[in-house]
Amino acid sequence: MSLVQRGRWVTLVGLALLAGVYVRALVFTPVELHQGPAQKIFYVHVPAAWSAMLAMGLVGVASILYLLVKDARYDRFAAASAEVGTAFSLVMLTTGPIWAKPIWGTWWTWDARLTLTLFLFFLFLGYLLLRGAVTDVGLRARYSAVLGICGLVLLPFIHLSVYLFRTLHPMPIVLKPSAPSLPGVMLATLLFSVGVFTLLYVGFVMQRYGIGDRGEGGGTHA
């Protein structure tokens, strides 16, 4: 069985378990009294954010390894991880505002974490655009590795900049999403969901890695 095929099975199991997450979150997890049902968006939003961050972290690690040993497999993995990360970022960026509207009263605020996720998405897009704009395979690998490393180093700075900026200029009435100590049932649902999203990440990356260059419209070897 090829890697792509095994990836498909992992993805299918992941999707089946995702249905399980939905059922568990909707039926077996209590409604939070202050936030109402919208609080349950949390169970898909946070795991999606986790997968996106994981993807970016692994893009960075694979980029460093690529520049150290120049093994094309690391580049291929970084490309796969970046694309999958983009998909998870999209889930994170769409579910986030849908949660923020009923809870914070606005679709979007320039809160530190929101801004960070937005730039995570921009970095993924820039990374994929750069890959699309370079035809030479070796050049593409080196360029994207450089960008991957820089992107990973940039993220803490963006978080720091917005965080300090906003604490110096406080927003009018935005409820801070302080980490609440979750009751056991909710925590279990969240952890289950994080596990499922990680599995989906693995399945997607296996497929995308197996597809390889075909996903980027080939390339020329110089």
Partner: protein
């Protein structure tokens, strides 16, 4: 180590001599900066928004555009004349090449920023005399971080399709932290806040500069070597 900086200086000098002999790029960048400032003047309602409120934004958006424009030029000339291949064959380290390019870009951008700052003070009637020292410090620290990453990226994008578009797309996220701190510090300076309030932003800018100048120097060889 001495060679490193000597060679870097040689590279920077070569670029700058070429630049100031023709003066086309620097003039274009200066005129562009002036035009952006003029656009900003008409892009606001002076009766509704006091100048001082948006002055930091005007200054920094102008500088961002000017810097971006300057970076596109950095490796263009080398590539057009296939001079980059010659430079790479020369017995100088890649680190020298990067630092030289960075220095040349910084001098170029600093020149444009000086012109921009004077025009800015003139057009928007911002009293600069009191704060010119700290303001130059803020501008210098923010520019170094931004141009360090920009020099690295401009070496990559020249060999991509849509280079002029690719550079801003890749670089703008890296502009955010310096921009945030610089705008904040500039605003505090314009509002005549005590200097101690600006110190925090200056430290963060310096940290960003150290991290990205180091990182870009280390990564640069990967963008030019085969």
């Amino acid at each position: 180590m001495a060679d490193l900086f000597r060679h870097a200086w040689a590279i920077a000098r070569k670029d700058l001599v070429l630049e100031f002999r023709t003066r086309t790029a620097i003039m274009s960048a200066a005129v562009f900066t002036a035009l952006v400032l003029v656009v900003f003047n008409f892009g606001r309602d002076p009766t509704a928004i006091p100048t001082l409120t948006i002055a930091p934004s005007i200054l920094w958006v102008t500088f961002s555009f000017a810097g971006m424009l300057a970076l596109n030029r950095a490796f263009q000339l080398e590539l057009e004349n296939s001079a980059l291949d010659g430079l790479l064959l020369a017995p100088i380290s890649r680190f020298s090449l990067y630092l030289g390019k960075l220095a040349a870009n910084l001098v170029f951008v600093a020149t444009v920023e000086t012109i921009g700052l004077l025009l800015f003070a003139l057009f928007f009637d911002v009293p600069l005399q009191r704060i010119v020292g700290p303001l130059v410090g803020v501008i210098a620290l923010a520019t170094v971080g931004f141009i360090a990453v920009g020099t690295l990226f401009s070496a990559m994008v020249i060999r991509t399709r849509f280079a002029e578009l690719m550079l801003p797309v890749l670089l703008l996220p890296f502009l955010i932290p310096p921009l945030v701190w610089a705008v904040q510090a500039t605003g505090q300076l314009f509002a005549a806040r005590p200097l101690s309030e600006v110190a925090g932003a200056l430290k963060l800018l310096a940290a960003y500069d150290i991290v990205f100048v180091t990182l870009a120097t280390l990564l640069f060889p990967a963008t030019v070597d085969q």
